[in-house]
Amino acid sequence: MLRVNQVWVKRGAAVALQDISLSLEPGRTLAVVGESGAGKSTLIAAILGLLRPSHGEITWAGAPVRACRPALVMQEPRSAFNPVLSLRRSVMEPIVASGGTIPADRLCHLCDGLELPPDILDRRPTEVSIGQAQRVGILRALVASAPLVLFDEPLSALDAVTQKHTARLISDLQCEEGFAALIVTHDLGYAAAHGDEIAVLKSGRIEEIATPEQFVLTPKPGYCEQLRDAALALGALEAAA
């Protein structure tokens, strides 16, 4: 289980995260939402060990998170890959580095599910569309069978139909394999549809951790309610309203 316990993170003189506590069980999904600069991506960096908390601790099964080799889907699809390597090399890099191998049928199955053409892995990042690059980033994270997968705006470059197909593939694979998923997103519809819980961050603090039903029907007054109302106004939660 991922456990984030009373974590504070400073960036220079500024406090980026304040007293963050949350937990995430294998097979479950936590969606993290909030405005730009709220600390969502900082939380991912802290979980990965890229930023050291000034207070508190972050563990997976009682050990440092990096020991479980978590996978990450980065926010910027193109800059997530080495521009001079083929996408295949980039996808295989974490597997090769850990001395593992990937069954060919798993790679094909995931490419099919993500609606990626068979030859795409032989191209370089600049030779694919940004939406394809984002899905190859998801492929790289999923193919390694990591117990914890961190998604930073994983669907931002995809159109509405492809977003739903891709989210469904991630959820189906999670049901089969039981990885824990932490998803940072601006898309409140995605958070409500695929999160077991939703954590609302504001100014580095957790405003609320709620089930999707609580978030949609009885959000905490103030910022959480504003977010819910915005999702309704933007059509993201229309059917639930």
Binding site: D159, A160, R168, H194, A230, G235
Partner: protein, 227 residues
């Protein structure tokens, strides 16, 4: 005044990416141009803007990325003055204070270049420039993609209020039918560089005729899916 274009098309690298397309846009119309990535929405938007401007019509454009609208070497103040100049307005006569307050960017330093502003603030600045005057048409290409949900909703509400009762027509280009359905009265569906369906919003939501429209309707909303 009704806007009319005919035979808009585009070819890139020998491939037709926009088949000949004609449009008629009534004054005050609220149109959503929807379709999947690569269907030709932005291409049609650009072709429409070029043609109308060549006809002498005034068209404001909010591109998908503020990078397309803002010169990185020029200050934000320069961009604002250019927008006023293009509309034939006296410098400083536009309601900058009111628009900036409504879009929550009054704290932005106009003496700075675009990259000193956050991306979300740049996008709202571009939207403010589009709202300076009373153009015949405002074309908004995924205007809220760089914005937080709360800011995005407030921005769309501001657009609605600003356009209410005016003759300015609005075209909202988006892949998100859920958003378009809340904001426009008429939908145009693009697929493979062609306009395959156009009808009042409610008609398309209830009775989509083409496969492209059916896919968009089926996937317009996250919560409608059995997850």
């Amino acid at each position: 005044m009704t806007l009319s274009v005919s035979g808009l098309s585009a070819v890139r690298s020998g491939r037709t990416i926009l088949h000949p397309t004609s449009l008629v846009i009534a004054p005050g119309a609220r149109i959503g141009l929807v379709g999947l990535s690569g269907s030709g929405k932005s291409t049609l938007g650009h072709a429409l803007i070029d043609d109308l401007r060549a006809q002498g019509r005034s068209v404001a454009h909010v591109p998908q990325s503020p990078d397309e609208a803002l010169d990185p070497l020029r200050s934000m103040a320069f961009h604002w003055q250019e927008a006023e100049h293009a509309l034939g307005l006296t410098p400083g006569s536009a309601d900058q204070r009111g628009l900036f307050a409504a879009l929550n960017i009054e704290g932005g330093d106009l003496s700075k270049r675009p990259w000193s502003w956050s991306r979300g603030m740049q996008q709202r600045f571009v939207i403010a420039m589009a709202l300076i005057g009373t153009p015949d048409l405002i074309v908004l290409d995924e205007p809220t993609s760089a914005l937080d949900p709360v800011v995005a909703a407030a921005t769309m509400d501001l657009l609605d209020r600003h356009l209410d009762g005016r003759e300015t027509a609005m075209m909202l280009i988006t892949h998100d039918l859920g958003l378009a359905a809340r904001r426009v009265f008429q939908l145009m569906v693009m697929h493979d560089g062609q306009l395959v369906e156009q009808a009042p919003t409610d008609d398309i939501l209830l009775r989509p005729q083409t496969r492209a429209a059916q896919a968009l309707v089926a996937h317009r909303n996250w919560m409608a899916l059995p997850c």
